[in-house]
Amino acid sequence: MNKTVTFRIWRGDAQAGEFVNYTTEITEGLVVLDVVHKIQATQANDLACRWNCKAGKCGSCSAEVNGIPKLMCMTRMDTLNTDKPITIEPMRAFPSIRDLVTDVSWNFRVKTKIKKFNPRPPDAADGTWRMMQEDVDRVQEFRKCIECFLCQDVCHVLRDHHKHEEFIGPRFLVYTAALEMHPLDTEDRLAELKQTQGIGFCNITKCCTKVCPEHITITDNAIIPLKERVVDEYYDPLGWLWKKIRPQG
């Protein structure tokens, strides 16, 4: 069913910008990215928009649709109220480059600061390891991350308080959890988590979990377990005593 809908799209760069209204006809089955491409093709040839796979797997088309961080390619038009103008704007936790495109390179710089995977010596003579599936089930959830950075965008510690120098954000807490909880890994990342990566800044709003397009249970399965490991190490005198009496492997 065809319908004429108004879109308010942010046009501008790091210095200045404004919302510009575009009215276009939508048809059944469209996603927001389709509409942005249509507007780009017919009304605003210079509209900047980053995209790649159109399948929710590359994490390129992250933006804010009606104020909520979403992948434009996975946001179906029939899930939005088209009776009112639909707002599309760039992510707010990163510097604007132009229109809907932001500079997310800060994330890649953060990633380089996290201690890399450091496996124990191989279990077999051929240099391979043996793992039980149930031991890797937990970290496999974290490996679903497509690095769209929507969780970083919605996290108020970055979005509103701009703690980029002190807090690595939910994406990299998930990344750290995937390494820290890996059955082969031998590295200890708890000191960095507490001191320089700012896990204490997370106040468990669960906004990151709500916006994750891969439905990773970021807060409950990654961040809170990491917080508990930090508590083990720094805030639990009885736990400390227990470890002294009965060391764990």
């Binding site: 104020g67 204490g200 809170i224």
Partner: protein, 283 residues
């Protein structure tokens, strides 16, 4: 140029492009928590009058029943038959300070809920607007999170869990006692079920479902291990706690209102406003 200077400016409080009723959830949480805090405080202070007047508004013994309000359990000093040390206050309690049996114990479940990971996220939004909801502007520019004092104290949560788990045993014991009705003539106790028995039992079950879905417990029973296959009992316990943990928010709310309504019911019975209906007593 500092990185923060390249970012979009912080939006003012309440500013958002969300067209939905984003304020509804924090408002509902605010009203729900406020209602419970106000009622539980009032209920706790009723014990002050009970101690002064030698009455008991938190325990019901009509028809041989034995229902103790969960706000007053365990009862160390008080006016009900459950009082471990009777109704005479200890010498160390300051004479100028009002005393209610609830004062000695409510800080434990209160502390458990206050430091609970679910509640933290909920009341930071509803009471402190930090943030008031996802992708909505905040009222403050400064943010310390749980990294510094005072909120760094939230890390004590597992210790409150240890105490809260003890409470489940005690409340289970109270529910068990609620299943025994004393015959006024013979003084013998007979097994029976009244509405109060059902309420006390359900209250304990709801609280147990909430308490044993705790994130700290989930960590302590197996979450701390990277290779749970080497500890099968830890793995099974971890899976059980994880199962409850997935519905932690639901159990948090059900148990919160459950414990409040249990107190309401027993209080109404104890003050003669309503009568407890007994389904059967085996004699």
């Amino acid at each position: 140029m500092a990185y923060a200077d390249t970012l979009p400016k912080q939006r003012p409080f309440g500013s958002t492009n969300r067209p939905d009723a984003w304020w509804l959830q924090p408002l509902a949480v605010f009203l729900g928590f406020s209602a419970f805090i106000i009622y539980s405080t009032w209920a706790a202070f009723q014990g002050v009058g009970d101690m002064h007047n030698h009455t008991c508004s938190y325990w019901y013994g009509g028809n041989g029943a034995n229902y103790l309000s969960p706000f007053y359990s365990p009862e160390f000093w008080g006016t009900s038959p459950h009082a471990i040390f009777g109704s005479i206050l200890p010498a160390w309690w300051p004479s100028w300070a009002p005393f209610s049996p609830a004062f000695l114990i409510l800080w434990i479940p209160g502390g458990f809920r206050f430091t609970c990971y679910y509640y933290r996220g909920a009341y930071y939004k509803a009471f402190w607007a930090d943030p008031i909801n996802c992708a909505v502007g905040e009222p403050r520019k400064k943010f310390l999170g749980e990294k510094s004092f005072p909120l760094i104290i939230q890390n004590v949560h597992r210790y409150f869990f240890y105490l809260a788990a003890l409470f489940i045993i005690l409340l289970g014991h109270d529910a068990w006692k609620g299943m025994w009705f004393t015959d006024a003539l013979t003084g013998k106790q007979h097994f029976g079920i009244g509405v109060g028995t059902v309420i006390l039992t359900l209250n304990t079950v709801f609280l147990a479902m909430y308490t044993f879905g705790c994130h700290s417990l989930r960590h302590l029973v197996g979450g701390f291990l990277d290779s749970k296959s080497k500890a099968p009992s830890c793995a099974k316990t971890y899976n059980c706690v994880s199962c409850l943990n997935q519905k932690h928010m639901m159990w948090a709310w059900i148990s919160l209102f459950g414990v409040g309504l249990t107190d309401v019911y027993i209080r109404l019975c104890a003050t003669g406003k309503i009568s407890d209906f007994v389904f059967f007593i085996l004699k």
